[in-house]
Structure formats: C-alpha cells, structure tokens
Amino acid sequence: MPVFQKVLIANRGEIALRIHRSLKAMGLSTVVAHHAVDAGSPAVLEADQAVELHGATPVAAYLDIAQIVEACRSTGAQAVHPGYGFLSENADFARALMQAGIVFIGPRADTIELMGDKVRARNFVAERGFPVAPGAIEDEDPATFLERARQVGSPLLIKPSAGGGGKGMRIVRDLAQLEAEVATARREGERYFGDGRLFVERYVERPRHIEVQVLGDESGQVVHLWERECSVQRRFQKIIEETPSPALTGKQRLDICEAAAGIARACGYRGAGTVEFIYGAGGEFYFLEMNTRLQVEHPVTEMVTGIDLVREQVRVARGEPLAFAQSDIAQQGHAIECRLYAEDAAHDFRPAIGKILRWQAPAGPGVRVDSGVREGQAVTAAFDPMIAKIICHGATRDEAIARSVHALQDTVLLGLTTNARYLTRVLLHPEFMEGRADTGMLTRCADELRAPPQSEADTDMAIVAAVLSDRELLRSVRSVPSMHAAMGAWRN
C-alpha cells in the first residue's frame, strides 16, 4: 500500500489551491510547482513549500515532465496531483512518475492512453455493448472511409481521432460537401494534434451534454456520483454546469449513470473520472469520451453528494478501498456552477487582460467560491482566462438559480472585463430557467443575451465614480472658489 506524506501539486490557479486545501485537511504536506509568473498567486503563497519551474513560456513550464519529476526529488514529494489540463491526461507523465517511484494520483497510464485515443475508446465502449452514435472510423479501412461516412447519413460530425476541445470538428449537413470538409478536418487534425486520422459520427440535433462522475478503487470497485449537465457552452467550452440534469427522467438518469459506471468498470478504472455523453431530444444518449481526471465542474457533484472528490482520489491512490457503496450516494438538492472568465461577451468572448484592482468573492448560504486570484495580480493571455468558479446549492433548481444570480451580482471584480453579467442573463433566460438549454443555446439566443443599453442612472453613477476618483480634477475644482466655479468652467 503506497504511503505518502508530501504531495506535489502540478498545476496552478484555483484548482491548485482547491487541491492544496483538501490535502491539508487530510494532514498531508503540500508542494506547489509553479512558473515565476504565478509566484504571488494564492496557491503558491498558501502551500507548505513552493518550487519554481522554468520554461520558454509559462505553459511550457507546467508541461515539463522532467522538471516536475526533479522537483519531487528535490522536495521529497512522494506523490503528484495533476489537477486538470496540463499533464493530467498524459500517460508519459504517469509512467515517468511511476519509474521514479512517485505515486500519480490518477488512473493507470494504460487507461489514460485508451481513453485519450478517441477511436480506441469508442470501439472499446461499443464492443462492450454501451451506446455510441452511429459512425465510421477511417482507420478500419481508409479506402472506403468516404463511402462509409456517406452511409451514416447527414447531418454528421467529422472529428479528429486524436482530438478534443472541439478543435477540428466539422458538421456536415450536405453530403456533397463531405469530401471537402474531410480534407479540411484532416489538415486541422494534422496541425493541432500532429495526426490527420478522422472518424465521423451521426450529429445529434439540439444536443445536450450530460456527463457522469465515476470513482473506482484498486480492487475494481466502481461507483457513480450521479450526472452533471454542461450544455451551456461557448466555443465548445462549458460555462455553466449543474446537477441534477433537468433533462432526465428518473429512469433515464439511472440508465445513463449505470452505463457510465459500467464503462469505468470495464476498463478497471482507478480514481476519479468522468464519462461524457451526448443526449438527444428523443432521449437517446451516446458515449462521447471519458476524461481520466478531475473535471473543472466537479464541485457541483461535491455540493449535492457531500463527498470531497480530491480526498477520495488521494484515498484511492493510497490503495484504500472506497469508503461507500453505490446505495450510500444520494443527490441532495441542486447545484449550479458558473465559470467567471476574464472575457468580453460583447465581443465574441475575447479574453480580457489587466490587473485585478478589487476582488471580493460572494458569500452566503449555499455559496462556494473556488478561485485562485488575489487583488493586485495581473491576468495575462498566458493561460486560460478562468478566474473563479461560483458554485451555489439550493434545495431546488429554482433556489440554486436564484442564489447563483445573487452571488454573481455580489461578485466584485474590478480592473478587467468579466462575463459575470452575461452569466446572470443566461441563468435568467427562459430556455435555461425552463431546463431546455442545449449546446447551441448561446449561439441561437445571442441577441437576447446581449447586454441591455446602459440606463441614464447607471451612466450618472459611472460619471460620478470617474470624477470622484480623479485626484487632479478634484484638486483643481476645489481650488476654484465655488462662486466663480461656473464661470471657470465656461472659461476653460
């Protein structure tokens, strides 16, 4: 049974801080490995120990396997938590740690590899009788790929085999365009992933994204921690997630969660993972992919189950059996996560940069905020522009929505543009309120989600704020005796 006392966190921002806090609550020591740009971040400041990583770019530093293994050696860390993104789904990293005698808090390297290859994962799942969308895989017989793709019928979706994050994906509605779209997708796959292999799948209209949290231990026990719905997406990235999903009936919920647990069981899954599905308007659902790591949106699951997923990841990595059976895991109430991004929703969600002048996280009953920033910190283009996650729990979905709206209104982040108000507009839009959002909602409802024109009262307040923060202006106005003031203004 692997025993470890000190864990190195190979990540940054909110997730590094969140992992650190669970580790401390378990009595473990923490090391945060970081690039110099993050030296003043809360995770680095709170960690028991910090170690600097170097790289041509900040991202390159967080991806440098050799440096991280060396950082474990130099600090005496016996285990690594990879968080999400960066090296969390890198089988070579898991292997390098194993060879150095360091515990990787995550699944086995071969599981990461299996699920990292979209085509292998799809075949694995289909062969074991779980639902996958009708499709065609180029590798099975490249010569007949186009013909087999045509047989799947339109609309269809072309995906790179090595893909992820929506890159290189193309929807084809007119089969006459198939050949040209395949050529384009292949070029993109080669450019993004160094791999031009493709597959096609039937495109599900008005698709909803539903995923299931699973947890497995070394002995092969697997449970699910129910589903999350993440249909509210912009540029293929989730911005609002919730649990339970308002789309599912009780029977569908059991079916989809049991399918996910079955897939995890079939691959001998160890640790925390997420099985993603596409859910169609007719109630059909198909396996999409499995993420072999902690998800950004894991807190909603924690809010309704009361289970700390990082703690369970650590327990499993120590070789301990799961502390609960399936029947012990209930969903209590409803939880919603809103991702606060430094971005300008009015301009195609372009990232915003700047210095955080004022940061005041919301608080209150049922409100949890996971953030990794502090006042004075600069938000740059070097990383993903997510600043914080605002997670609200309520007894019902309506209460969770109301609390989320209130929490977003109470979120003070000054110095750069954020999507806080955009998120409240999405939460209050009838499609979301009625639980009808699908992955196309934000594009379809773009006009209705635009910010209303600013009121005169708000403009007054803004002008007052500008005037009262302008020291030079106040000094010169104060120096003019009030009875001459009006004249002075005219003279100007």
């Binding site: 770019t57 990232p351 002048l357 283009a381 954020t418 409240t424 002008i463 704020a465 106005v477």
Partner: protein
C-alpha cells in the same frame, strides 16, 4: 473643469464644478447632477446622487475608473483625451498589424526585411484555443516583428510593423 469619458462605447463630455454643499456639480449632456461621496467601513463608497444613495465599489487604474454596484454590475469608465481617441492613436493603421485579441504567437512566416504581397500570411496567433492567421493588408516590407513564437501579447499590441515596399 472638463473631462471626456468613454462608457459602454459612448462618449460623454462633462464639466465639473464645486457645489456649495461640499460636493460637486457635474454637467453632462446638458443635465446637472449633484454628487458627493463618503467612505464606508467595508471599503465601499456611498454615493449621494441627486438625493439618491448608492453603495458601490470603486477602483481606478491609470486611465480608467471601475465601478461595481449590485444591481448594475461592473462598469468601466475610460478617461479620454478631449483631442483624440482612447489612446489608440498610434502610427497609421496600415503600417502596423495590431492584435485583435490577447493571445500567443504560434508561427511567424516572415523575417524582418522580407517583401510581402497583399494577402500573404504573416503570422499565426492563438487565442481561446482558436488559431487565426494574420495576412498582409498590402504590398509592403516587414520592418519589424515584435513577438516571436511562443510569446504572449495583449489586446491591441503591435505584432508587426510594415513599411512601404
């Protein structure tokens, strides 16, 4: 004293004078506002505007003030030069390629001194996980490449400078 502000894409000219109540009179777009403020113990400001009270957060940087109120959210107020624009008056637009959004340089297809034709790809940048290719707007000589592969840049950063061919 005059100021020009840019708020939510709109320009506002204001004249500020001292008022007899210890506050300020602000004339904007032909209308007068009487305002004063006091600090609150939690770090907020309480604005008194025409007899109404608003508890708000205020912060400022070199060229902008920022305001947060619970009902209205965050508002940025940029102080602009009455003479020019919001600090974007750089060299002629056709002489520089300016970053349409913050990001990272993925590839640079030209070197300083190269002659390029209109429409020729110059640089590939990545932002929000999407790649964008920047093309030459006209026939020109590359005078300077300001960012190399892997470098990150901010919104409106000058990526390339062009000179006449």
């Amino acid at each position: 004293m005059r100021r020009r502000y840019l708020i939510d894409g709109q320009t506002h000219d204001v004249v500020v004078t001292r008022s007899i109540h210890g506050g300020f009179s602000i004339v904007r777009d032909g209308r007068r506002i009487d305002a004063r403020a006091e600090g609150l113990p939690d770090g907020r400001q309480r604005f008194h505007i025409d007899g109404q009270e608003h508890a708000v957060w205020v912060a400022c940087s070199e060229k902008s003030a920022f305001l947060h109120s619970t009902l209205s959210g965050a508002i940025e107020i940029e102080t602009v030069d009455a003479a020019g624009g919001a600090g974007q008056a750089r060299t002629g637009a056709s002489d520089t390629l300016v970053a349409p959004m913050p990001g990272t340089v993925i590839a640079v297809q030209v070197c300083e001194g190269d002659m390029v034709n209109a429409g020729q790809p110059l640089m590939v940048i990545e932002s929000m996980k999407l790649e964008t290719t920047l093309f030459a707007p006209r026939e020109a000589r590359i005078q300077a490449v300001h960012f190399g592969v892997g470098a990150t840049f901010g919104l409106k950063a000058i990526l390339l400078t062009l000179a006449d061919a």
